[in-house]
């Protein structure tokens, strides 16, 4: 009974905020929303997207808890087998971390493209991505998830700060309510949702200029790929637990971490929500890093906290 009121309040607030979020544009860019709102479903799609703005001014989208079928038997071998996965509720950045956001954390911006502060940061090494997460946590008075004194910057999933998404969280957020490779349906529509090799003119673009997916997330299918927390193992899906998988245990040496989502330099096929790749975490010197690796933060949130954030937003 004690939990009834917050949950009801949350539902009411979510409905209230739907209208204003429909017209919101990410980072003051002219992307708009697709009108392709997710339908309520048992998969956890959960109605129209709910967005909040964090203390440091970052727009995030609420992804409700749910289950989905992760992977595919229609893609590359490492995408199989399709398997059931459940993830708790979390917040995910509405757009990839931009040049401006990265610099706000007083970190050296490694991006190849810096014509616009709204272009996504890229050439980010895995640990630099984690450092950004910790810095943003500190900026907002949250407990950092990453222990910077351990070799692999171990993640405390119980901390309330920002971190990289797990591979399961990323795919759950990317697929929305769809069972297919793109949550908007056909590959033919990809140009409306993503910057990729066919339309990017071989560079990144300011975030939020394309349509969001059904969860209200922009640039999930292109522009830059993003780091995930998980160790990359092409055979992991055969052994993945159902509940909140965090990926395989690190082998300690020559570790690859998961990168997800298409980017400006890849073909449409590699922009699929189920496409997986692993990348070295960045031992090379600055001059040789990749210019398609970006990041997008998540953090776990309880319904009560979401309600508080939304109340604060409405008052503000």
């Amino acid at each position: 009974m004690k939990r009834t009121f917050p949950l009801l309040a949350l539902a009411a607030l979510a409905l209230t905020l739907t209208a204003c979020n429909q017209s919101a544009t990410p980072g003051n860019t002219s992307g708009g929303t697709s009108g392709n709102a997710a339908s309520n479903s048992a998969t956890g799609g959960g109605g129209a997207p709910v967005a909040i703005t964090t203390k440091s001014g970052v727009a995030m989208v609420y992804i409700p808890a749910g289950s989905f079928t992760m992977g595919s038997d229609q893609g590359a071998p490492e995408e199989a087998p399709p398997h059931k996965v459940s993830v708790p509720a979390f917040l995910m950045d509405q757009v990839p971390v931009t040049n401006a956001m990265f610099e706000k954390a007083q970190l050296p911006n490694p991006s190849h493209w810096q014509e616009s502060p709204k272009q996504p940061v890229e050439r980010v090494r895995w640990r630099d991505a984690k450092q950004y997460c910790n810095e943003r946590s500190r900026l907002e008075g949250l407990k950092p998830c990453y222990n910077e004194k351990t070799t692999e910057w171990d993640c405390d999933y119980t901390a309330n700060g920002y971190r990289l998404p797990t591979e399961a969280e990323w795919e759950y957020a990317a697929r929305g309510t769809s069972d297919g490779p793109y949550d908007f349906g056909s590959k033919d529509a990809l140009r409306q949702y993503a910057w990729f090799a066919e339309n990017s003119e071989a560079k990144t673009h300011p975030v939020g200029e394309k349509r969001p997916n059904s969860r209200g997330l922009y640039d999930m299918y292109g522009n830059v790929s993003v780091w995930c927390e998980d160790v990359y193992d092409p055979k992991y899906y055969a052994a993945s637990p159902v509940d909140d998988p965090h990926g395989p245990t690190s082998p300690g040496k020559d570790v690859k971490r998961v990168l997800r989502g298409g980017n400006w330099k890849v073909s449409a096929d590699l922009c699929r929500a189920t496409y997986r790749q692993g990348e070295r975490t960045g031992n090379t010197d600055a001059c040789f890093s990749t210019d398609y690796c970006g990041l997008r933060c998540v953090r776990r949130i309880k319904p009560e906290e979401l309600a508080q954030l939304q109340t604060a937003k409405n008052k503000g």
Binding site: P108, Q114, D128, N283, T284, D285
Partner: protein, 365 residues
Amino acid sequence: MQNSNRLAMRLGANAGLSLVALILMLASAVRGSADPTPLRRNLKALPYKIAWECYVNGNWEICVMNADGSGKVNLTKTPGVNEHYPQISPNGKQIAYSVDTGEGRDAVRSLWVMDIHGKNRHKIADRAREPFWSPDSKTLAYLPQEYAPFNVVDYYTKGMMFYDMAIGKTTPHPNTATLHHLYNPGFSPNGKWIVATVHAGMGYSHTILLIEAHGDRILDLKIPGCRPRLSPDNKHIAWGPEDHELAIAPIDLASDTPAVGTWSLHIKDEKNKIYHINWSPDNRYVAFSRGPDGEGDLTKKGSFQAACEIIGVYAGGWNLYAVSAERTGAIDMQTATEADFAQLTTDGNSNKQPAWFSTRPAGRK
């Protein structure tokens, strides 16, 4: 019987020959280990020393040795202080270096100077990186840190400052507002230019620049890689085209628009990283650091995590080497022998950033 005698004599003769061969081989091996190669003999005869950053008993120090690797001395001997990146003044009298204190983002990297014998140590500035000397040794230039909180990456810099050693006054480079994300800078010996790598700054993705020392011209040398060093005679540039390569090429620094010519020497190592190439005062040799890939070792006190060639990152298995800069063609470190290179350090304790200097009186090389 005759046959058996012949057989016995043959066996005896064979055994005798084998014994002689064995003795000759052993003698040769003993002579080989005792006799230095011509390269090492030449290095030993040089009136030069090499300073570098060494890791001793859980602490970074500035060490000095003879040009052939003999006579190693811990110059700083400060167990509680981490010193890095020694840069010798062209007159051979002073060493500028970095000192790290603190941990994580609270760490502070400071710029210090001491005389060539390790005495008279004093701090020049905090949050100041990658010092480099003017050709007359009167100005110590450095790159201010980009933001106040610490970050280990090498291009974490913004602007450029000149510190006058005589009066202790700091003035900015005339184009300081433009200079961003530079690293590994150095004056051209003719004083006209500053060569440096830029990463993700000033409108460049990554390249090596010539920056006018006292003006606002900037030239892109359009060579791949990083960490350039100009030869003391102004005629060559040495740098790392990538993690596993070093190169030397001519450069026309007297020109109004200097350009890099065809590579004259190409050093490569498929398995190890090779970095931090630097010239001997007579332009005839280069020293560099070499070792396996890595990203720091947090069990080593004072180490940060990043690519192991970066200042402040422990590089396990890294040692210093020297080769002749007068050679042409390629040296493949995987197949080269001691005839091609001289290994100067052997302990593998993060030996990096070699800096040569002359022990002769100023003005003589």
